[in-house]
């Protein structure tokens, strides 16, 4: 840069909704969560919802985003972020409520809440980070772990006889009437990152339009727990994780159609009047 040069346009930087100074925190080398963090920050900026967003952060690595997002947030117990977000949204409908959780939170301990928010069509958004295992607790088998994956609690590899088959949350969500938007994305290439960002934005938009529940499942690399280098973990997402969990938009509706049968409405223990 020559003498007297003037910065005319800042072409790099961080989203407003991303904060670096709240508390020190770090991700493992090659972790994809920082990309989700950035994507969320960008979408919150683009939709201009920083002032009314409320994040409900689950337990696990996904909860680390609590300290990195400059939005109001609630610290939730393991698996409960979905129910907490639904509770907040009930009493504060104008807020943009979303929860972030991993596969342990949303597919194991908190799976019941997931099915029920979908059933009730609570207009909240769930950001689901699927890294095929428990990250923070140290790499135990999760409902989403790939068959054969060697985890600390399946040392010989995930055995379907004992621990079953990978759980496909997005496919389940797409079958439920109450969901407005369901998408599975990844962030392992720049092109996929852009798609992920778009999916998050659409999901928030569904909430803002009051359509219903929205879910974005993001496949994430977890190099330490997979025992792979960052680069190899990135390739593992491409070659293996996507093989089990195909990417794509599973559902996208602008209105959830339903009917009330007046004959049914006349039946029941409680009489009118």
């Amino acid at each position: 840069m020559g003498e007297g040069a003037v910065i005319k346009q800042q072409v790099v930087g961080k989203p407003k909704a991303v904060q670096l100074d709240f508390m020190p925190f770090k991700f493992c080398p090659g972790c994809h969560e920082s990309l989700v963090w950035r994507a969320l920050g960008e979408v919150i900026d683009e939709l201009d919802i920083q002032g009314k967003a409320i994040a409900c952060l689950d337990i696990g690595c996904s909860g680390v985003l609590m300290v990195g997002l400059a939005v109001d947030g609630l610290h939730c117990l393991h698996g409960r972020s979905t129910a907490v977000a639904a509770g907040v949204k009930r009493v504060l409908p104008q807020a943009i409520c979303f929860n972030i959780g991993g596969d342990g939170s949303l597919c194991a301990i908190g799976a019941g809440h997931m099915v029920n928010v979908m059933m009730r069509s609570d207009p909240i958004t769930t950001i689901f980070l699927n890294n095929s295992g428990y990250g923070m607790t140290g790499g135990q088998v999760a409902p989403t772990s790939l068959i054969g994956l060697r985890t600390t609690t399946t040392p010989e590899g995930r055995d379907v006889q004992s621990t079953g088959f990978p759980l496909h949350l997005s496919e389940i969500a797409a079958t439920m009437l109450g969901t407005a938007y369901v998408s599975r994305v990844s962030v392992h290439t720049p092109a996929n990152y852009q798609k992920a960002r778009k999916a998050i934005k659409t999901a928030f938009q569904k909430q803002m339009d009051g359509v219903g529940y929205s879910l974005v499942e993001i496949l994430c690399a977890c190099p330490p727990n997979w025992g792979l280098s960052p680069l190899a973990a990135n390739s593992f997402v491409e070659e293996k994780l996507i093989g089990e969990f195909p990417l794509g938009e599973f559902k996208n509706v602008d209105k959830i159609e339903y009917t009330v049968d007046p004959e049914i409405n006349r039946v029941g223990r409680v009489k009118r009047g």
């Binding site: 904060q19 709240f22 920083q50 002032g51 009314k52 967003a53 409320i54 409900c56 952060l57 609590m66 400059a70 939005v71 109001d72 947030g73 609630l74 610290h75 939730c76 117990l77 409960r80 129910a83 907490v84 977000a85 639904a86 509770g87 907040v88 009930r90 009493v91 504060l92 807020a95 943009i96 019941g112 809440h113 099915v115 029920n116």
Partner: protein
């Protein structure tokens, strides 16, 4: 004229919630609590409140937490097994200092037990209930009127001290009907809720810390001890009935305390000097009052519909200076779960106790 109605304890709790300006209720059906749920499903939306029947008690209390964090007066109601399910979040709310009111219409336990009356949750609610060494205020109504009044007090205390307040009733109180004056109770001014989470816009862009005590757990526990001391100094409630000249003091709460009151009337007719300490707050516990009454009495009889839980606190308060007797669950009139302790059984126990003495 005052609005006076015949209400079950459960309906009166619902009315207490409405009069106490509770604006959100999350709950799950369980006998013998369901009438509270059904009442509020109809009545809460009429006053602009939010009602939701959730998938389980864990979701209910999670939503109570989320809703209360927005500054909304929120409560839930359940019965014993539901209280167990809620404990993890009650502990979280203790840590984050979140107000909430949880009604426990106690049923027979342990396990799934039976849906009839009992007082087997005493230890759980008075000692905190979940992990982490915290406390909750526990109010124990003994009539429909008190159900209505004490729920209002519970909502106020929850906001005043930013903590969970239990209202512990039982199937007998919950389902018995009595006349209730529906009155709004005023307990005084409350501190501003400057801790609410409603989005950054609502607070001028200042972000709320989520782990309030992450760097000072010692300070957290010291602060809480200070708060518990303050509560124990200011919020103890009890009724001393015919206790001034009593040589025998009965100690009881909930439906059993009403039976004990009836027993006092019966034995007083026969000239026996018996009185009753009816506990209204189970925590804080009226240790000093009991010690004072005990010092003038020859013996103390604890009556409770359990194997002997309250009796531990009574013995602790009396420090071995007065003999403490227990009429527990074996005092019920049937051996199955539908037995209750009648006044006449308490009278029998008093007479037997006195004849042996």
């Amino acid at each position: 004229m005052a609005d006076r109605r015949l209400l079950s304890g459960n309906e009166a709790i619902g009315w207490g919630a409405i009069l106490g300006e509770c604006k959100a209720f999350f709950g799950y059906p369980i006998t013998p609590q369901s009438e509270i749920l059904e009442f509020l499903a109809t009545e809460l939306p009429k006053v602009g409140g939010v009602f939701l029947q959730t998938e389980d008690e864990i979701a209910a209390v999670s939503m109570v937490y989320g809703s209360s964090m927005t500054g909304t007066r929120t409560m839930s109601a359940t019965s014993s097994p539901g209280i167990s399910l809620m404990q993890e979040t009650v502990s979280l709310m203790a840590y984050l200092k979140v107000p909430s009111v949880i009604v426990d219409v106690c049923r027979f336990g342990p396990g799934s037990g039976m849906a009839q009356t009992s007082q087997t949750d005493y230890r759980q609610v008075t000692k905190g209930g979940g992990h982490g060494g915290y406390r909750c205020i526990v109010l124990a109504p003994s009539s429909s009127q008190e159900c209505c009044d004490l729920v209002q007090l519970a909502l106020w205390l929850a906001d005043r001290y930013q903590m969970t307040v239990y209202v512990l009733t039982d199937a007998t109180i919950g389902q018995s009907c009595e006349l209730v004056d529906l009155k709004t109770r005023d307990f005084g001014a409350l501190p501003d809720k400057d801790w609410v989470i409603r989005g950054l816009d609502a607070r001028g862009g200042v972000r709320q810390g989520f782990h309030q005590h992450m760097w000072d757990y010692v300070g957290y526990h010291q602060d809480m001890n200070e708060k518990y001391r303050e509560i124990a100094e200011n919020e103890i409630k009890y009724e001393a009935y015919c206790a001034d000249d009593a040589e025998v003091i009965l100690v009881a709460y909930g439906y059993v305390s009403r039976m004990a009151k009836g027993a006092v009337d019966l034995v007083r007719e026969e000239g026996l000097k018996v009185g009753l300490l009816r506990l209204i707050t189970l925590w804080p516990f009226p240790t000093n009052t009991l010690r004072e009454l005990g010092s003038r009495a020859r013996r103390v009889l604890v009556v409770e519909h359990s194997s002997g839980l309250l009796v531990e606190d009574v013995e602790c308060a009396l420090q071995g200076k007065v003999p403490v007797h227990l009429l527990g669950i074996w005092g019920t009139h049937r051996r199955d779960s539908s037995g209750i302790i009648y006044p006449e059984r308490i009278v029998e126990e008093i007479k037997q106790m006195e004849s042996v003495a």
